[in-house]
Symmetry: C2
Subunit: 475 residues, 2 copies
């Protein structure tokens, strides 16, 4: 018998030298090539979107998505894959909503009705079973609402119609300028005795899709909770024009949505345990839940499958991380953030040292870069890496928001990062029935996964500054 | 009567000071705001695409597009609008093409046929009226074809199946690596006695759309010209697999396309005459013709309407150019470049001093920047402007290709520039029946128009270096 061991040992050393001798340029090129020629993200998204579909927290589809992604992660040969239990809210839409505008011509008894496209906002109460009909008052701001006061609002439906600003280059900024109408519109309107709320959909496009999304009643007592729905942008324009012509028109809507008891669900987690610093954790994730109208391909099926592919691409590219890299598929980002909070809570309980967290939750469009919520020292390190990303047209490296799910992990030392894809088309699909698979481009999705993997590779290799303004631990 | 004149004069001076005192940042912000809130490009594209449609050179639709764009330019209050006559080739597709793969199972007399999606390449001859049926040989390169030689090729159909490389980040680079199969495939195959050519569509997506595009027989005599068609990528994969299993399968195709006599058409030109240097010309353009399968929204309806909007946005933003700015809508880029050649020829005859030319012919996607074919001095000037574009996420400023239509204007002194939009989805639609209006996003189109306008504003304001490596004329 020939002694093979020494040869294998030498071979291992040689392979390790070869791998270590690769420049960052070469490793990153390999990551992109793997993703574009041998990526799995698009296939996974196809299954999530077309075999499962919309994955609202607490729904059967959400549980199917948990089972599917766990099974797929298990196939990757990671060091650990597990489910992290978390109780989530369960809100159900019920029957399709129905709404119309009613006008009465002078001198005629019969009313004319014009059907419009609405959908209940997530978390809203139902109308009474026969629906609500009332006069409707358009406002653009809460200040305007306040100025009208109880005298003009009581017994009426409030129509929030402040559009997203088209001149802003970042559509997320435009969204941020409007979303308080959706989230807090009901609480504000109920102060003045309104009986319902209709909100212009958060979209820059004029079309017929109503866009749902979370709203909150805060600590409003049950009897003060008024039903809230979104109306498509085309119908918001129509309603506004009709109101300009005749303030006495009525609006009717009917919705049968319902908040049920919390149910058990899960974050799905997979890990490659670090070879040198296993107790330093770097996570990458997206959220597994989605709204129910579309199939949640952009929000956030894309982030889920990209995050899964990050761990696979590391392995396929022959990278053995020094630190423990986890993919975390968060449950319930859309209407509760329970998964993100739970993950951070457990990490704290266990004393796990999280040094880095990356989230992809801005759609599967061409990646442009990242925004970073971190210390100057870590940000400056990132800026030094910019040239490595130039061949891939990744140019956006700015301080800013990381992501909702990873937010609860925030400390002075951790680096939070958010993938920043091109944002122009995101809100055309966001929370609407046209957030579907055919609107995700395979290459754009794969470029995102490669870009995320490259950032994780660099942070794993060069380390994260443990405390702001101290020298980075360069391993 | 009160003397108003002095007041008006003072007012004019004040307004002029205000306008001149605007920083470049302010002017560019105004251009983007105008385009995003008050742009015309999307409406124009809607008409070109949905009221007119595909605009193949020499077709009735192409003439409709000439008339429509001239009329729209005339509404803008430019200093001049005119048509520049140019003779263009007229190729017609005729009846829809038809093709199938024929397999014979051993021991059975009857053949099984599988229909596949093809389209004639632009410029191809027809098959005979009953179609061609022959054995088919797959090759990836002209070298492979040559190695097979007459013995293996004579009497057969050649199937070029080299795919675009997915690992290249620029899809235009991937296209450049394959397009010789389409353009010269027939000439090469006919050397060895092939009777027809089938080319894998130039697309990175696997789908059912065949993509047409120009091919050339060079100076091949008529009797040696063999029919050429593109096959969809899905069917190229199918055909390749079937050939792997059985080399004896036959391929049938039938097409009735035809090259007619040249006909008269036009470039459409509009001009704002310069206030200080009217004999220095800066042009911006796209091509008005398109292929016939789709409606040519991305190629190049987008470039046409963006170029038209550049002149309108300059006016709307209160910019009075020092140099003469022309929009040129070129005819016949796709299969002849007659419009581009004619424009340059007339410019030369008239001794017009063209200092700058910008083309948009890469789709209506989110703009990323420009490539420049110019002297170092002019390119360095551009690099100094980069920070002005940063708020609009315009980051790509590289030396490279300007554009096909403006190419004939090239001299040592002129600056040629090409708009570079995000390229990931371009070849999903290029020259295929799915190059249609609904695949153009309004904001992305408008951002492109604003980006082009901003570059023209800067070159007009700061001037173009007349001779390489000399100091720029700073006006």
């Amino acid at each position: 018998m020939i002694h093979l061991r020494p040869f294998i040992f030498i071979l291992a050393i040689l392979l390790s030298i070869q791998s270590n001798s690769q420049t960052d340029e070469q490793v990153i090129r390999e990551i992109y090539t793997q993703s574009l020629t041998n990526g799995k993200s698009y296939d996974w998204l196809n299954h999530l979107s077309n075999q499962i579909g919309g994955r609202l927290s607490g729904s059967l589809n959400a549980e199917k998505a948990v089972a599917y992604t766990k099974e797929e992660l298990e196939k990757l040969g990671l060091d650990k894959v597990w489910l992290q239990p978390v109780m989530v809210p369960k809100w159900v839409r019920g029957a399709k909503e129905y709404a119309y505008i009613e006008t009465k011509s002078k001198g005629f008894e019969t009313a004319k009705t014009t059907t419009v496209n609405i959908c209940a906002l997530g978390g809203s109460v139902a109308t009474n079973p026969l629906g609500i009909k009332a006069n409707i008052v358009e406002v653009k701001t809460f200040e305007e609402l306040k100025a009208l006061g109880e005298e003009k609002i009581k017994g009426k439906i409030v129509f929030y119609n402040r559009p997203m600003q088209p001149e802003l280059i970042s559509t997320f900024e435009a969204y941020g300028g409007c979303v308080n109408q959706r989230y807090s519109g009901a609480v504000e309107a109920s102060k003045y005795g309104a009986v319902g709320v209709i909100v212009r959909s958060m979209s820059l496009r004029l079309d017929d899709y109503p866009h749902t999304g979370a709203m909150s009643y805060g600590d409003l007592p049950n009897e003060k909770r008024i039903p809230s729905a979104a109306i498509s942008t085309n119908d918001a324009e129509l309603l506004s024009t009709m109101l300009e012509l005749d303030k006495s028109i009525s609006f009717y809507f009917k919705q049968s949505c319902k908040q049920l008891k919390d149910v058990l669900s899960y974050n799905v987690i997979g890990e490659i345990t670090g070879s040198e610093f296993p107790s330093e954790y770097m996570i990458v994730g997206g959220h597994l839940d989605s709204w129910d109208l579309g199939d949640g391909s952009h929000d956030d099926g894309a982030g889920v499958v990209q995050s899964m592919d990050v761990l696979r691409l590391l392995k396929e590219s022959g990278i053995k991380p020094k630190r423990s890299i986890r993919v975390v598929l968060f449950m319930n980002e859309e209407n509760g953030l329970r998964g993100g909070n739970k993950y951070a809570e457990v990490a704290k309980q266990k004393g796990e040292n999280h040094v880095f967290a990356l989230e992809s939750d801005s759609g599967g469009f061409t990646p442009r870069g990242f925004s970073f919520d971190c210390s100057d020292a870590n940000f400056n390190q990132v800026l030094n890496w910019k040239p490595l990303f130039k061949p891939y047209l990744i140019h956006y490296f700015e301080k800013g928001y990381g992501g909702a799910d990873i937010g609860p992990l925030k400390t002075d030392a951790v680096v939070l990062a958010g993938l920043r894809p091109d944002s122009q088309r995101y809100f055309d699909h966001h929370h609407a029935s046209n957030d579907t698979f055919e609107h995700v481009n395979k290459r754009e999705l794969e470029l995102g996964a490669a870009t995320m993997t490259s950032l994780i590779y660099l942070f794993d290799k060069y380390g994260v500054n443990p405390i702001p303004n101290q020298k980075a631990i360069k391993n």
